[in-house]
């Protein structure tokens, strides 16, 4: 799975949680929680969805690495290698 595929899946799942968000306008370095008004329940649901979609079980300790779009893609790419 390449970065583009990861990015597409990640943005799809964000879209399920924050349907009104516009992924094209998302700053890849911005904190998603701030940019998209995600709370801990939203974030947990995002992690659950990613686990289901790509099989990566992200421990809570690693959550901070996925707070940005760039960070999330990087993290998932590493895990999927």
């Amino acid at each position: 799975m390449n970065d583009t595929e990861i990015r597409t899946i990640f943005l799809e799942e964000i879209g399920n949680i924050a349907p009104e968000s516009d992924s094209r306008k998302l700053d890849p370095a911005a904190d998603l929680r701030e940019a998209l008004d995600l709370d801990s329940m939203d974030f947990l649901n995002l992690m659950t969805a990613i686990h289901r979609r790509v099989g990566v079980n992200i421990p809570e300790l690693d959550y901070p690495e996925l707070f940005t779009l760039d960070g999330a893609i990087r993290y998932l790419a590493n895990q999927l290698k």
């Binding site: 990613i50 686990h51 809570e60 300790l61």
Partner: protein
């Protein structure tokens, strides 16, 4: 339909009333009564007060003779009701609103018109409803306390009853009307601030232990099975309220009706604006995992605007958290006719004294907004302390 015999009890006609003297009976055995009928006169420190009955049926037996002084809650008479069987039972005061029924099992229709559904319109402790609305509600069995009014001065009019009834009969998921929701929030909150004498308490607790416990617990679990602190907080409130029932129930018709069931309203922000506080039912009887699953499902559907009418059932107390917004403390406005709201701030790392040493600890600010007509600050402080104690012993949850 079936007949049941329920007790008509000495009501609490004020937060400070312990006992009252029965002055006069206005009914006798075999008399028919309906909800709202004045059946007796009771003497209190505040003077003679006419007491209404909340059941429809027939007076089966008079238990207390005029002149007797009895404690609040003492059965005064027995009423053979003709209401739904589930409306009778072990509840302390036989009022159909506080039936502890699971979602979907309620035969009583509920309003879906907006978030704080079940907001009663009251002036001087009475539901403000037109005569025609009352007549219709009686004939079709709609509880006016569950109807949001749209008439003059916010009064419930006929159409509101019809809408409430129609809504309750709709089983398919419905979208939410954020405009209507805003209006309902405005009405409920304005009414709350107008009518409920709030008092506010705040306490800070060291929750490092429960954070550690939570991290350890979640460490072994895939995301789908992880717990959030919110679930622990809701559970702690539900368990604490068992010991402090004066924070669980409703202020209605000028008095407090405690609820045996513990349904925790959970304030959930709606994307696009708005707020709803659907109830998680019987929280005290749920395991943490069950509670978390329910909460997760509820939040997801609520956020997406898919809500079931059964979820707008009565909460008996509300929990609110703005933790993710980074505020240290929030002071809530009580959802009428509830009598308390517990607020959780965000957990912050703070210098904290452990013994004589200053340490970095996780500190949580918990607040209580409570109705002074029902409880006092002392009880509130003990209630908050109980929540804090439970939060420091995760195994107890």
């Amino acid at each position: 339909m079936s007949a049941d015999v329920v007790d008509f009890r000495m009501p609490s006609l004020g937060a400070d009333m312990e006992a009252g003297t029965l002055v006069e009976w206005l009914v006798k055995p075999a008399d028919k009564v309906k909800r709202g009928d004045i059946v007796a006169v009771v003497e209190t420190q505040k003077g003679a007060i006419e007491v209404e009955v909340f059941e429809a049926g027939e007076v089966a037996e008079i238990l207390v003779e005029p002149g007797a002084r009895v404690p609040v809650g003492t059965p005064l008479a027995r009423i053979r009701t003709s209401t739904m069987a589930e409306a009778a039972g072990e509840r302390p005061r036989a009022s159909p609103e506080i039936v502890a029924a699971p979602p979907g099992a309620l035969s009583r229709p509920q309003s879906l018109s907006a978030a704080p559904a079940g907001v009663p319109r009251r002036e001087g402790g009475r539901v403000l409803a037109s005569p025609a609305a009352r007549e219709l509600a009686r004939s079709v069995g709609v509880d006016l306390a569950a109807v949001v009014g749209s008439g003059p001065d916010g009064a419930i009019v006929r159409e509101d009853v019809l809408r409430s009834r129609a809504t309750s009969e709709v089983k398919k998921p419905l979208g939410l009307d954020l405009g209507v929701m805003r209006e309902a929030i405005a009405a409920a909150m304005a009414r709350s601030k107008r009518e409920i004498p709030h008092y506010y308490l705040q306490h800070q607790f060291d929750v490092t232990a429960i954070e550690t416990w939570l991290a350890r617990t979640n460490g072994d679990r895939p995301p789908a099975e992880r717990l959030l602190f919110a679930a622990l907080a809701i559970k702690a409130v539900a368990l604490a309220v068992k010991r402090f029932p004066q924070f669980n129930g409703f202020w209605r018709e000028g008095r407090f009706e405690p609820s045996a069931a513990i349904h925790v309203g959970t304030a959930i922000a709606i994307r696009g604006g708005g707020l709803a506080a659907p109830a998680l039912h019987d929280v005290d009887r749920l395991s943490l995992d069950e509670l978390m699953a329910r909460l997760r499902d509820l939040v997801q559907r609520m956020r997406a605007g898919r809500i079931r009418s059964s979820e707008i059932a009565y909460a008996t107390i509300t929990v609110s958290s703005l933790g993710e917004r980074g505020v240290e403390a929030l002071f809530g406005i009580i959802y009428p006719p509830q009598v308390a709201l517990v607020g959780f701030g965000t957990i912050l790392r703070r210098p904290w004294l452990v013994g004589e040493d200053v340490q970095a600890r996780s500190v949580l600010t918990v607040t209580l907004a409570a109705d002074h007509r029902v409880s006092d600050g002392h009880a509130g402080a003990l209630f908050l302390a109980e929540i804090g104690k439970l939060l420091q012993e995760p195994e107890s949850l």
